[in-house]
Amino acid sequence: MKCNCAQCEDRMSDYLENALPVPERSSIELHLASCQACTDLLAGMSEVLELVHSFPAFEHPAWLTTRILANTPRVVRETWIDTLAGVGRWLIEPRTAMGLLTTVLMVGWIGSLAGISADVGSVVRNPAAAYYRAYDDAVRTFYHAPLVTEIRSEIERLREIS
C-alpha cells in the first residue's frame, strides 16, 4: 500500500538505515516514485548523513591535558595515620575538650551522689567486679530514692483501688 508524504517523512531515517520491514519499505518506494518533493528530501537527508559522518575530528591542543591534570585537585590516599591525626585534631578542639571534661565531671558528680566510690585501684585490678558493684549501687540508690518510693507506693494504692 502506498503511504502519504507525512508517513514517508516519519520513516525516512529508518529507510536510509535499512531498518524497515519489506512491506513498509516497498510502500515508501512506491510513494517516492510518484512524489518529487519527498525524493528531493530523501536525497538531501542522505547528503546530510554523508556530511555529518565525514565531519572532521579536531585534535585538542596538547596543553589541554596538562591544564586539566594541573587543575584537578590532588588525589591523596587517606592512611590510618591521617585518620588518627583527624581524631586527634577533633579531640584538641576547645569545644570538644570542654565537652568531654564537663561529661567526666558530671558522671563523677552523679556517681558520688549515688554513693558510688571512685576507687581507681580496685577498678583497675578487677574491672568486672567494679562494674557490677557500681550497677548494684545505682539500682539500690534508685529504689531508695524518696521520689521513686513515693511514686511506687502511689501506683500500688491506685492498683488496690481499681
Binding site: 529508518d14 538531501g44 547528503e47 572532521p56 585538542h60 589541554l64
Partner: protein, 189 residues
C-alpha cells in the same frame, strides 16, 4: 590495557596515574563533543576542562554495570554543555560567533596537516555547523549523539532519559531540518 572499571577503581583509591589515563584516553572525545555543540574552539577547551573536573568530582557515582565509562562521561558532558548553553544563550549570536571562529581556524592552520586539508575541512565544518547550530536544542543534541558521536538509539535514550521512540523521532526530524536548511544554504550560494 586497563579496563574502565579498573581505572575508575584506581582513581577512587587515590591513584593519580589512573586519573591521568582517563584524561588522556577521553580528552579528544570530550573536546570534540564540546566543539560540536558549541562550534567554538575556545569554548570547547574551557568546557572540556570543566567536564573533566565534574567527572572527577562525581566519579564515585559511575556504575560499570550501567554502561561504558565513555557513555557516562558523554552524559555528564552533555548535561554540562546544555547547562552552559542555557546560561549563556542570550549573550551571543550563533552566526557571528561561528564566522569569527572559522576565521580563527583559517588563521591557525597548525590544527591541520596541510593547507588544502585545512580548507576542505573548514568548508565542511562550516556547512555542517552552520546548519546544526540552527536546529533546536533537542533535535541538535539527538543528531550530534547519533550521527557525530555514533551512539546507539538505546544509549542516547538512556543519556537523555527519554524513550527510544522519542529519540528516533527527534533524530529523524533533526535530519529533515538539516536537509532543508542545507538546501536553503546551497540556494544562497
Amino acid at each position: 590495557m586497563t579496563s574502565d572499571s579498573e581505572l575508575v577503581k584506581g582513581c577512587l583509591a587515590g591513584n593519580s596515574t589512573a586519573w591521568e589515563s582517563i584524561v588522556r584516553q577521553y580528552n579528544s572525545r570530550i573536546y570534540n563533543l564540546a566543539y560540536r555543540f558549541t562550534g567554538k574552539f575556545d569554548e570547547a577547551e574551557d568546557l572540556t576542562q570543566e567536564i573533566f573536573l565534574k567527572v572527577y568530582r562525581t566519579l564515585n557515582t559511575y556504575r560499570p554495570e550501567s554502561g561504558a565509562l565513555v557513555t557516562w562521561m558523554v552524559r555528564v558532558g552533555r548535561n554540562h554543555i546544555i547547562d552552559h548553553y542555557r546560561k549563556f544563550k542570550t549573550e551571543r549570536s550563533q552566526t557571528d560567533a561561528l564566522e569569527v571562529e572559522y576565521e580563527k581556524v583559517e588563521e591557525n592552520p597548525s590544527r591541520f596537516t596541510s593547507p588544502a586539508e585545512a580548507l576542505e575541512k573548514r568548508e565542511l565544518s562550516e556547512r555542517v555547523h552552520r546548519t546544526l547550530l540552527r536546529l533546536s536544542e533537542e533535535l541538535r543534541e539527538a543528531v550530534i549523539l547519533r550521527d557525530l558521536e555514533e551512539f546507539s538509539y538505546e544509549e542516547i535514550a538512556d543519556m537523555l532519559k527519554v524513550p527510544v521512540g522519542t529519540v528516533k523521532s527527534r533524530i529523524n526530524r533533526g535530519r529533515i531540518e538539516l536537509a532543508r536548511l542545507l538546501r536553503v544554504f546551497k540556494d544562497q550560494l
